[in-house]
Amino acid sequence: MSVLAFGARWDGGGQNARLRQAFDADLIDFVEANYPVGSGPDCDPSMGIPVYVHSPANSVASPTGLNRHICEQVKSAAARFDSPWVGEHLCATGPEAQGRLGYIVNPILHPRLADVAVENARALQQHYGRPLALELGPHYQKVGEMPSEMHFLGDVARRADCQIVLDIAHYTASNRNLKRSEDYGLDALDPERIVELHLAGLRTGTDRRYWHDAHERLPDDGMMAMAKELAKRLPNLRAITFEHEGKAPEADFFAFLTRLREELS
């Protein structure tokens, strides 16, 4: 395992005070900023802290093409902050190159869509001039002929020569939603491609059946154990990002970062 950097997700200026405090207390080494962002004074994630650039808004796994405005903003931020890689979701966003209906749309798990995603990911990596790290959203259903979204991700990352962000909350939610084992599909990924883990809480809906990403909550012990196990065995893991929304309790934020440092450093 290489030296791990610890970070926290940045969604806007409302989080700056607690992120700055966490950095000053040596609890985080970077913030992971989610693009696109606005242009106001509250829209600068740097604060003198290293920034990893991430975008959940690009339709990398879609035949529609991508939004040039978002790509340019991400590229510019990645260059400005010298982001070691750019995180991108393996998803579609809307029926056209521009637009997002709401939450990201998981890719159709079909070899033809995988070919498109490979072509897009390669091109985006070249456009950014730095590595791309691909991430999956949480899944509620399997759409398409490939065995799973993990196989889709593994195939695309391998053929496009991309890195991977493994979001443990999304992965765990998908496994629970699709009634799979807690470690389903990890063997479909090349372990050496995983450079970053995301950690966040989960919750069920009112039906108590389906699990959802919950940035207002903390990761449970099972996800923490998985993070520790992965940190031991992934040869190129370089970063762990805690995703906790700015409106969630500050005490939880600092307590979990402290635990993360203690248990994974």
Binding site: P36, V37, G38, S39, G40, A57, S62, P63, T64, G65, L66, N67, R68, H69, I70, C71, Q73, A92, G94, P95, E96, A97, Q98, G99, R100, L101, G102, Y103, V105, I108, H110, R112, L113, V116, E119, N120, R122, A123, L124, Q126, H127, Y140, Q141, K142, V143, G144, E145, N177, L178, G205, T206, D207, R209, Y210, H212
Partner: protein, 232 residues
Amino acid sequence: MTPEEILFRPGSERPELGELVAVQTIYMKLLYCEATNAAYRASPTAVLDECGLPASTRTMLPRVESDDHRAEMHGRRLLAARELLLEYPALFAAVVGPDCDAPSVARQPFFSRFLSSRDFFDPKRRLPHAFGIGQGYENASAFFFWARAHLEMGPEARQALYENFGLWLVKTARCSAVPELQRHRRGAFFFRNDGVAIVITGAGRAIEYLGVGEVGSVLRAAGLTGLEDLDP
């Protein structure tokens, strides 16, 4: 092709991807649109045929009768309802009920009609996003354009729709560097059913304007946006 040609070339210039785009479009409609789900449940091949797709593409689409698909649809409806409830509290209080929440908004038949509409699926039927990334990245303006044309409303609900949207528009314009939005910074106006003009000020307040003569022309000349004929 250069990376930029691959990423940004219009779909019309990549006919080899046309079938995949068509399949993906149906997939997205199945995630939101009850009418498409009903039609697809009744006859998948008829829906595919209508879009010029072979029956074999059915394997690329959800099993719409499954609990998993219904759960994903439900979650997406709730997220959309939550987004709109934040911006249209007075309207939803008027048309759904004073204590309505996102689940109760999501259950409304009018909400299903919105999620099935062209206003929802077509990014060009929205205003540009405040972050300078183009149209199609929020639902507040899509919902306004749809509701203005299609939602049956009494006078109170109509006033609430225009006030809620006007406040959102002015707030969004004031925090954006996008020129098409900045022109709404000075405020907006509309006419109540009784003919009185309501002005949404640049400071985000709704007030009655009791001017005389060509009130609309006066307010437009003052740089205010008329909400009744605002287009995406």
